[in-house]
Amino acid sequence: MGSPLRIVNGRVYDPANGVNGAVQDVCVRDGKIVADVPPDAKRIDAAGMVVMPGGIDIHCHIAGPKVNLARKVQPETHQDDVQLRTRLTRSGTGGTVPSTFATGYRYATLGYTTAMEAAVTPLGARHTLEEFHDTPVLDKGFFVLVGNNLLLYRLLQEGRREELRHALAWWLKVTKAYAPKLVNPGGDEMWKGQRNANITSLDDKIGSFDLTPRRVIAAFIEAGNELGLPHPVHIHCNNLGHSGNVETTLETMRLAEGRRAHIAHIQFHSYGAAAGKSQSNPTSRARDIIEYINTHPNISADVGAVMFGPATIMTGDAPLAYMLRRFGGNKWVNADTENESGCGIVPFRYQDRVYTNALQWAIGLELLLLSEDPWRMVFSTDHPNGGSFMSYPRLIRLLMDRGYRKEQMAHVNQKALDRSALRDCQEREYSLSEIAIITRAGPARLLGLTDKGHLGVGADADVTIYEEDEDKEKMFSAPRYVIKDGELIIEDHELRADHQGRLLHVAPDYDPQIEQVIEPFFEDFYTIRFANYPVDDRYVPNGQIIPTTPSVAAAPATAGTRT
């Protein structure tokens, strides 16, 4: 937990508490922010520096089965980007999919202290937790894939909505997940069961099931809201990456009907099609998307910005990865998980001269620059899909420095800029406070993490101190100090300690009767025994349950809507 600490003379950005650059002390003791510490407490003189809560990545891919496949398939990207061991810390390798130790240390060296792995198969939960064990510094959680789950489909198909909710709660709890995740609902069944087909609209029939993505999405939004999860259903919409997908995205958001829903990496879902042709090059429809979000407070999103350079497409959306494989050279990985999910991986490179890549870059910036509520349109690159998390400082500079942005716009494919509205939002520059919102306070609020993303008394003592610099990329690349749970992890830009972060997860109540429904399905269609499926506490040496606030009773289930 480290010794008591007083940070003095720094300009504090704590938007959740209305602090906007005021010079004030921040005190830390026993891993928490406190009102005061004894006068002999260690002091950090933060004169000329900016003090913020630790960064929070609401959507990234850093651990678990697909991440490890993506690591393994790219040895050539590791060899030239290495993480040396020190007396205290472990070695590792980088590239767009770093090893676990490198992931933790590198996030920390950017001032991030919390990250959410955004797509884990339930069967892969144990694997993900094993990797988390070896991912230092960060507090972590993961979103569990439920949107292509065949048992849940069966319940939904039969109209057993209450049981669906209990089963969802069961799955969240036994996998130690943080939130439910939908990825391209219905797509996996088309992919695996229908000769590599895909979903093209919310009203497509899902393979042999009497279901549509529309029904699936609506049901999960409802169930998630009823369970009162700290973070609502996290949705990767259908048609990711396709020209004209904006209509699907808008339609998906409308399905929430005023209930909470989070749309993931929305940049990838904001494409128009020239003259209504779906096969044409995409155009930007960022305006329509952001206008909807600006006017619908129930909806939140992370941007999924793109940065030029190497990336790894790594997604539960297997048909998408298959489509992209012809752009990625020779390598393509596909991995199907029984009854639960699919997955695709393709090494990728965004190039500023390529029309589509430049358009994607522009849309990411557009969405952020047109956003009226930074609390609901937060920062991400869908690491490593839109680019590595190591590109965050450059993206922050693009938001904060219009001169730099203009200069960069001159280098990219101009036709793409013609089809975007980026030139119309040239004036806006993000303030430090707004950056603090989209990279920490906003994600914390959207995740329902009340002890994070702010520096009020009682908050987790996750603090980042940056040296002020005109060059915002430089400033955000290497904080002078990073404090995690009250411990000084980075001092004078260097790793000074190792630290094991926490697992953040939920444990919603469910009617135990639901196990009688789930177990027979396991007997028939899984290859792992029902008794061996739940992840036990040994995998969570340092866990924290974030409470839920259900709007309906968890148990006992009524006979309800069973048909």
Binding site: R85, F101, L150, N339
Partner: protein, 448 residues
Amino acid sequence: MGENLKVVRDATCTFCGCVCDDMHLTVDLDQKRIMKAENACILGKAWFREHGIEERPLALIGGRTATTEEAVEAAAQILAQARFPLIYGLSDTTCEAQRVAVAIADMIGGTVDTTTSVCHGPSGIAFEGVGESTASLGEIKNRADLVVFWGGNPAEAHPRLFSRYAVTPKGMFIPNGRKDRTVVLVDVRRTPSTPAADIFIQVKPRSDFEVLWALRALVKGRKVDPSIERRTGVSLAVLEDLVARMKSCRFGVFLFGMGLTMNRGRHFNSGALLALATDLNEFTHWVAKPVRGHGNVTGADNVVSWQTGFPFGVNFSRGYPRFNPGEFTSVDLLTRREADAALIIASDPADNFPKAAIEHLRRIPVITLDPKATPTTQLAQVAFTTATYGINVSGTVYRMDDVPITLRPAFESPYPSDEQVLTAIRDRVRALLGGNRLPAGAPVAAAS
């Protein structure tokens, strides 16, 4: 049979990569023996029955009985002093132990390699070149209507691959089980697996690559000369028939074995098969799976990968992980007489490595962790007796399809686990070195 019996339900067999987790074990707690292993195959039955507690010393140093503590000290001294130590094995132990083994390699600046390098290591290299379309075993059970075994003998090495996962079981979209599937077996000889197949294709030894390459060409609609039969022993008609079946099935799977990896062509054989599966996805859904031998060799691949970025053959001598099969793999390090010490965990290279490699093992200080005496423990300077994973030790193992499973041990062992011994060694080495050994050099200048 003693009075003190207990039944452990849903225990896991770690004999092979199938890692079946439906064992119901009847355990005699007085005798410390497993009397019955319901659902186990012939290999699993032997695995459970033969792993009683043997009367063996906790440790041997230079052949003399020692305490575990003394042996930890001796092992730590060897590892702290070595300049090019090799840590090898790890496929028959838990991920928890594997994790510590990699940590030791990192700390001392050694090399960590696993039995993968002499198993599906070539498939790992192939994966790095072309990727892979793969699936968990349940997808095969639920969906696969065309199952192709290539270069393996599951009837003898993985019996329940047939009965639990890939041939006879009924699945969601395979309601009639065996009847709904076509099974093809490709091998150089008839084996006890052959009768399980609808179609047996016998290829001439060392011609798998040519057969696979011809299939790729046919799948892509290219012409293949009938002379293919002279080289491979397989007629063009047979290949064309197979291609037609592969393109028209709904969900096809290749399950391939060491007939490809241990053979001339090695990683290119595996790569050709993985590429063929990729090509076939233009037409219908296809996956490919290397069939893995040891109970947790897949866990070793995963742990080494997430900790270092590379699956096996990883060297830390410069202070960061480097991967290069042929340079940092065990057979090479030993055959070239480079390793100056070896820590061997749950493996028996002295039984199956090439002669020249075994000879080098006799020259250098070797530390072993094994529940049983083996040719390798016999040549060791320091030999620990450890408890058997899955039977006495809990922890995590990964099935051949990367699905992690937690073990349910049957009874306690008087011997420590691999993880406990390795942790003690790690802590002692750390004390001797004053923390991790500092990197010996800067990264090698980028090669381009």
